[in-house]
Symmetry: C2
């Protein structure tokens, strides 16, 4: 890019799909990102802005004037526009509402009435509805008159005169059945419907399980207010997946790869500070055994091994349990069986590696008692790790805390403290 001529770069850039441009923008540091953004054609500004992550979007929006922003919003779907408006300066939101026609304004307000992470916030309002008492031929005539179909239309929605949802008519039935037949004869009433209050994660799970393309969204009184399509659901699934990876490291989902150093430092400082507190807690535990360490320095050499093995074993259990919780596979009925199974694995692996470690310690320091003590401590700590790996996420979930976020910190704190206490405590009892 730096070498090529500007018009050439501009041509190449705008030949890309908006999602590719978005990806490219995210991969440049802010200064170059700004230059690149200037080169993007104004007509696709809106589509690109919808594809970049929140933090990058905020930065790009700050580069744009009001006219450009207004232009970018034209043609957006109502669900996208609703999301987008939350990033815009307040003065502009009023102007955008004014620029919409009555129908679209009502639709936008319907979407804005629900939280962003609910079915209502995810839905679009571009539904194609038909009445049950007409023939397929009438439906065909209506569609041809209408001209365009919203993307991802695999069903038409059948509603009563008062917008009450009755069921769906499959587009494939429309295409393959006798056009003289009536809609009500092909009406599928047991179609999946989504209450507007459902969380976006539950919506994603339902789409995934039922292989849906689109599903109607109903308000609390059973009226059709919109539909959710698979493309928005795929974004939810991807976000959820990224979030759990990043949140295990204490990061937010929308972290920009090239966020300014200062704001990233502040954002990560809290997590490091929390971990400093837990590390000092472990240090305090070690401090209780200062006299023992003074006697037998070998203990200081070996003690991190016991703690770290506990952390690793516990993290394995934790990862398994976090996934099972996300899939809704853990309930009171199977917690006990799961705990027993993980304890079994922890103790077996504890005994195995305890034996190996005891051998190493014996050869290294030539004191059999140290070998026995470290083996016992290791077995205790791997058992504790297994129990914590099951119980910590369950308890966190009970208190409404995301286990992927806080689980790792709490687990390693437990295994550090138990590991140090068991090892140094046993040594104090049997070595001094």
């Amino acid at each position: 890019l730096q070498d090529g001529t500007l018009p050439e770069a501009k041509r190449m850039l705008n030949a890309l799909h908006p999602s590719e441009i978005a990806n490219l923008l995210e991969s440049f540091p802010p200064a170059q990102r700004k230059v690149l953004w200037e080169l993007v054609d104004e007509e696709i500004d809106g589509e690109v802005l919808l594809q970049v992550n929140d933090e990058v979007r905020g930065g790009l929006i700050r580069e744009m004037d009001e006219r450009e922003l207004l232009a970018a919003t034209s043609g957006m779907d109502m669900d996208d526009l609703a999301d987008f408006m939350q990033d815009l300066p307040r003065t502009l939101t009023g102007e955008i509402l004014h620029s919409l026609d009555n129908q679209n304004r009502q639709r936008l307000e319907a979407v804005l009435a629900y939280p962003e992470d609910s079915a209502g916030g995810l839905m679009n309002t571009d539904t194609v509805t038909v009445r049950p008492d007409v023939s397929l031929d009438v439906v065909f005539r209506y569609l041809r008159m209408r001209g365009e179909m919203p993307e991802l239309t695999d069903h038409l929605f059948v509603v009563s005169r008062f917008d009450h949802f009755l069921g769906v008519l499959r587009v494939s039935d429309l295409l393959t059945r006798d056009p003289a037949g009536r809609v009500e004869d092909l009406l599928i009433t047991e179609a999946v419907v989504i209450p507007a209050e459902m969380s976006d994660r539950d919506v994603a799970r339902m789409f995934e399980d039922r292989d849906l393309i689109s599903a109607p969204v109903l308000d609390s009184r059973g009226r059709l207010i919109g539909r959710i399509t698979i493309d928005d659901v795929v974004d939810v699934i991807r976000d959820e997946a990224e979030q759990s990876i990043l949140s295990m490291a204490g990061l937010g989902e929308e972290e920009d790869l090239f966020a300014p150093v200062w704001s990233s430092t502040r954002r990560r400082a809290g997590w490091l500070g929390l971990n400093l507190v837990t590390a000092l807690l472990a240090a305090y535990v070690i401090g209780l055994f200062e006299a023992t360490i003074q006697e037998v320095v070998a203990l200081a050499v070996l003690m991190p091994v016991v703690a770290s093995m506990g952390g690793i074993a516990g993290t394995q259990t934790l990862a398994l349990v976090i996934r099972a919780l996300a899939l809704g596979q853990i309930a009171t009925r199977n917690t006990r069986a799961l705990l027993l199974k993980e304890l079994g694995i922890g103790l077996l692996n504890g005994l195995l590696w305890a034996a190996v470690l005891a051998g190493v310690a014996l050869v290294w320091f030539g004191r059999p008692t140290i070998g026995v003590i470290i083996a016992a401590a290791m077995t205790i700590n791997l058992g504790t790790a297994a129990a914590s790996g099951v119980l910590v996420p369950l308890i966190l979930k009970r208190f409404g805390i995301d286990p992927a976020l806080a689980g790792g910190v709490i687990l390693t704190t437990v295994t550090d403290i138990v590991g140090f206490t068991a090892f140094l405590g046993l040594a104090t009892l049997f070595l001094l």
Copy 2:
């Protein structure tokens, strides 16, 4: 379940969607799972088997006789059948191939000719094709004669007489345009096409970026051989996400929540053994400074703090870089900028928490030199952590190793060794 009567339980179970039954089966320990599986209606056995994870599926298949297995495969899509056959005993695969008609056998063989994790292995062969030179009315008559449409059909594929792919006809155009018009006038030639060799992850990325429902799969000579639909892609995305969470803990993607204790122990033992080696490496480093620790026991108390803070800070950078690598956002051109940014964050946070820790150490042990030494070691280690967080995954990727799997182990080994060396080394120089 245990309390209710059996017929009642059976009725309730089979009222569930196959994906819900699959989820339920996964959440039961093997003995109860077996009982539950007996209760599932034979007609939905196949659908349920396709939804459970590989390990659970293997267990359920072992419970079934040949007749039940053959019955379960009838009616499966060819892509599902191709996956499923890999879990069946060899004797049955021949029988299944025999039971298919000629057309379906050819289709199945086409899918089996490609690796499971490629577009060819993911594709289905139930394409609806039309010729370019017919009118929409002819297409309608053909579809009505054909009767059923494959699920998720948003496009018909337009092919030449020799099966060469020409483009797509949108179903929505079919519905809204004049039926006297010809297919070639509505033909979209710039539709996304997928080469059969493309990896399933690239396919998923493309579906996600372009909001696709279905896309044609072409062989190397440009002939239409199948299509991929969004429901299979959603499974790929979900698997990929689960895999990266589990693989960071050294677990396989298909780990059964209730795998037998003995086989789980063996599977996890390798990971723990690897971590024991790295922990012993860190212990060896500490051992080099035994004499120093003997002099100043406070060092043993504080040294895990330096190492653990390095591990946490490095993991934050690592998570960010692994995500960016997955999104294809890191290239030679921006590595240097990323490294400088992360180093900046690491050093700033290093200085901040070094100051806090120095204060704590001073108050705790009353020796200013220890405070200064731990602050210096912490800053060095957080800088190292930042550099490793960027470089370790990049190097692993260069060597074709999954950074999510091995990144964490290598990173914490580096931060442990650097942390202990810096802290104890500086102490040896300045305290003795």
